[in-house]
Subunit: 331 residues, 2 copies
DNA sequence: CTGAAAGCGCTTACAG
DNA sequence: CTGAAAGCGCTTACAG
């Protein structure tokens, strides 16, 4: 492994610059008092020798690894979950900005996996996503004193440090758009689920309908393809609404398929809005009007929050990130 | 940071088991000669104390970090690229099987980023994907003596250790299906591109057509939405074929849209096959018949290949992984 | 402002 | 079969 034999060490840098290794360390970490001339000389040598401090050695004394674990819950792998890649991209970018590397791990929700990572000395903390209502991962990290931040919330009494989107705003905006374009019989199609976000998205719809003095109609369905298809069939049957606000793009896609079977033209005879800006919705004809979230931005905020927690646990409240309604052909 | 103060060390394990730290190390690494009774006693203590060796300390002597970098090229973030999540999932799982962690990094193709990772002592090697014809990343890793393995191939004269899918087989199979179901005027729609796989997918089509004694018709287009739309328009204009083999699902989706505009019914009046099993194709009506690759399996093979390279660079040839034709509604 | 010493937790030779 | 010693490359705390 030549790469390792050729490794430049702090000692070589110190010798070449004519200073002690301690001064080199100070220059790198921006600590202690180092004269300007010395600093420049050392920096020059570091760059010339392509010196990179050994993270393993560094972590032994500093208790910092410069690594962040992102345990991906199983549902983030489901093809219907679209947020993963964009979020990960943002996470890696934001982490890099602060000199952090992202270690990707699998997580089936078993807190023991989290505990082992806490004990491993491999990471400085976690970024969690896809939390379940009874998720034990955050509690485990908290108990073992490992900093973390979450995209999304869990039960209010559990430890968390969250950034989340404003779900109700999204469906409120979508519903309002439909009302403003003349629709009156507007239904909501959502999931029966234990998740916060499902309830919040429904509430946004209800709130906009109430404000306009319109009668609301909420349909909820299970999460299997069959459940969704059945709900779509019923909703587009006799007495169908002229517009439907969906709690997710996946539901909207099912409505497109059902509308196709019935010869109902989406965008003309039936308006549909989604939520998530899933790639599938973008490729439908007409393209789906949907509520989009800036996952890149969110990832940056989650990393910021993680760094805050790393500096010292806080009771800081969570942070809501605004959503954006993308108007396309379907509404 | 309680997690770190509470850290169990090899010394604590050694004391509790009544052996030297060296023996504990031997038990963990399965090295040296350790008596059966001693091994069991030590293993019990390790498990009781939840001992995990400190990877930083370990890496200083062993030159092994147990970490693998996966630099994600920018195109893997494009929404039209579907392989990323599935592959990463498989990569993390396969790496974990061998005690490896995956460090995700961004890569804009700049070899200096790769060089810095090589020098960092943070990783034992790379898994590359999305290679460009003039990709300098593998060469850089090779020059710095860092082991790596690739999903996909690059120019034959460059260092590489690859696993790839059998592209020609896929389009050959798709074309043969169309021939077997009675089609005679079958066109191919592909990308003008410098990539291996585009040429190979075209060749599979040509080969199947030649075997059946049919006349082939190849249409190629650029990579922008506009280019693709123009190609679809032309292909579905006057004298259109009865079936089209596409080099990617993205192209197939564009054909669906164009067919929709012209009132041509896909699956009845026009057969279409894709390549990639993109989530969008699965959600079209009718669902797209396409060539699918088992990315989970491929990731496992790439990790195997990486471990081979880690044990000592080889000139072992690359490995082809079979593809599978998924027959759905469109053909 | 700079440096000599201690020590982080391991693994690698090597001695017995 | 097992252990005492050396040392991996850093950072910390402290002395000057």
């Amino acid at each position: 492994m030549p790469a390792r034999d050729q490794r430049t060490t702090i000692t070589q840098v110190a010798n070449a610059a004519g200073v002690s290794i301690q001064t080199v360390s100070n220059v790198i970490r921006g600590r202690g008092r180092v004269g300007e001339a010395t600093r420049e000389r050392v920096a020059k040598v570091i760059s010339e020798l392509n010196y990179v401090p050994h993270p393993g050695a560094s972590s032994m004394r500093s208790n910092r690894t410069g690594q962040l674990a992102h345990p991906m819950p199983p549902q983030s792998f489901e093809p219907t979950n679209n947020i993963n890649v964009e979020f990960i991209r943002g996470l890696v970018a934001a982490a890099a900005t602060h000199g952090y590397h992202v270690v990707l791990t699998r997580s089936d929700g078993d807190p023991e996996e989290i505990a082992e990572l806490c004990r491993s000395g491999r990471i400085d903390g976690f970024v969690f996503t896809g939390m379940q209502p009874d998720d034990l991962r955050m509690e485990t990290a908290h108990r073992l004193g490992m900093p973390f931040a979450c995209f999304g919330r869990t039960a209010p009494d559990l430890p968390q440090a969250w950034v989340d989107i404003h779900n109700a705003d999204g469906t409120d905006e979508a519903t309002t758009l439909l009302i403003d374009t003349g629709h009156r019989r507007i239904a909501f199609l959502g999931h029966e689920s234990p998740y916060f976000w499902d309830a919040e998205r429904r509430d946004g719809y209800l709130q906009a309908m109430a404000r306009a003095g319109l009668q609301s109609r909420v349909a909820l369905c299970g999460s299997t393809d069959k459940d969704i298809e059945a709900a779509a069939r019923k909703l587009l049957g006799r007495g169908r609404p002229s517009a439907i606000v969906c709690s997710s793009d996946r539901l909207a896609v099912a409505l497109y398929a059902e509308a196709g079977r019935r010869g109902i033209e989406v965008g003309k005879e039936l308006a549909i809005t989604g939520f998530d800006d899933w790639i599938v919705g973008r490729n439908l004809s007409p393209a789906l009007t949907t509520v989009s979230t800036d996952l890149h931005d969110i990832a940056g905020r989650v990393v910021d929050r993680f760094l805050t927690e790393l500096a010292g646990p806080t009771d800081a409240p969570g942070e809501f990130v605004p959503v954006e309604l993308l108007r396309r052909g379907s509404a």
